[in-house]
Amino acid sequence: MIQALKSEAALGPPSLATAARIGIGGPVGSGKTALIERLIPVLAGRGVDLAVVTNDLVTKEDAERLRRSGLIDPERVSAVEAGACPHTVIREDPTLNIAAGDTLEGRFPGLELLIFESGGDNLASTFSLDLVDWWIFVIDVAGGDDIPRKRGPGVLRCDLLVVNKTDLAPHVGVDLDSMLREARGVRSAKPVIATNARSGQGVDAVADAICRAVLFAP
């Protein structure tokens, strides 16, 4: 009985080749989970062996949404509670996320990509490089075209900025071209990709960026 409990709690054998780890952060409702739902089949179609760790704030809704999506083996989705501190769990103290990633790597030898989805946060949210190798920040046009101008650390420091919900631009009075121009302006040479995660527009470009950055694809 005791040994069975210990085996259940065991981390599993440490893998020799560790998976690339990427973060996807951004404000509440910007479309992080929707983007991951679109990315999973695209990356799987390219033969990428992946798993996801979510950081829901008060529920396990994002984790459950992915588990029930039919897009990924539910065992490959792990939920980490953020203790009311979505910043802390990805930056000041990412150890729970690192441990969750280690457990997934132990359970799924051959894992190539681990995606850490941050809980909905604000523009000051950034990922620790102790946790991830590369990270995306997702904002959306309905959040306001002034978001890039506010130069939040998330917008400025991420490796890839995704501007989502482009289809809503005409309905919320946003000049999309101007918003994208400003986003590129504040980020120097770092990339910005516009997406509509609902339709899938732009998702291939995000998958390309991930594969080039951390999976050594051409």
Partner: protein
Amino acid sequence: MLAALLALQHADSAFPSGSFAFSNGIEGLAALEPNFGADGLARAVTAILRHRWARSERVALTLAHRATGDFVRLAAIDEAIEAATLAETMRQGSRRNGASLLVTHARLGTPGAAELRAALSAGTVFGHLAMVQGVLWRGLGLDEAAAAQISGYQTLAGLVTAAIRLGGVGAIEAQRVVGEVLPVLAEVLAEPVETPATPDAIRLESFTPLVEIAAARHARADLRLFAN
């Protein structure tokens, strides 16, 4: 001087350990008591220190500190923590908190961390927080008394911080509670810990029924900020 500074480093909540995600019963208690505030917090923290931490985690940590390198004894200590922790989310929390603390120490190369992580990977230990702390802090050169002081202070500070984040008490009022409870912690820290002659004689005691009930209810809550 260096020993005191080392103790401060490892007592600091800035040291990555995953502890911030666990309320260890406070969120459940706050849900049971609509007016949970400074008085309720002080009662809860005092009860947890006297009736759980004093004879469970403190004893386990101290025995682990003395048993470093003896994995038969460490596994027995770990099993005793498992047996003495009634609520499932508290057991899981202690294991996850231990594994998270171990992540940091494994990366820092703390003496003993690699062996402990190998034991956890192999499933020969659960990796409960108190056992992990005892081994790692001994590995760093912290003495037994300092290790117990850090654990006790972190337990107190963690419970109070959870209450602040839940909105039950203000950050300044919370420090009044900390000040009131520190003498309780000092009193508990002065209690001796006997080393049992054999690993199978290790017994830990914990009796905090209201906290256990609150934690069990919390485990089924739809909305929760903390893991336990």
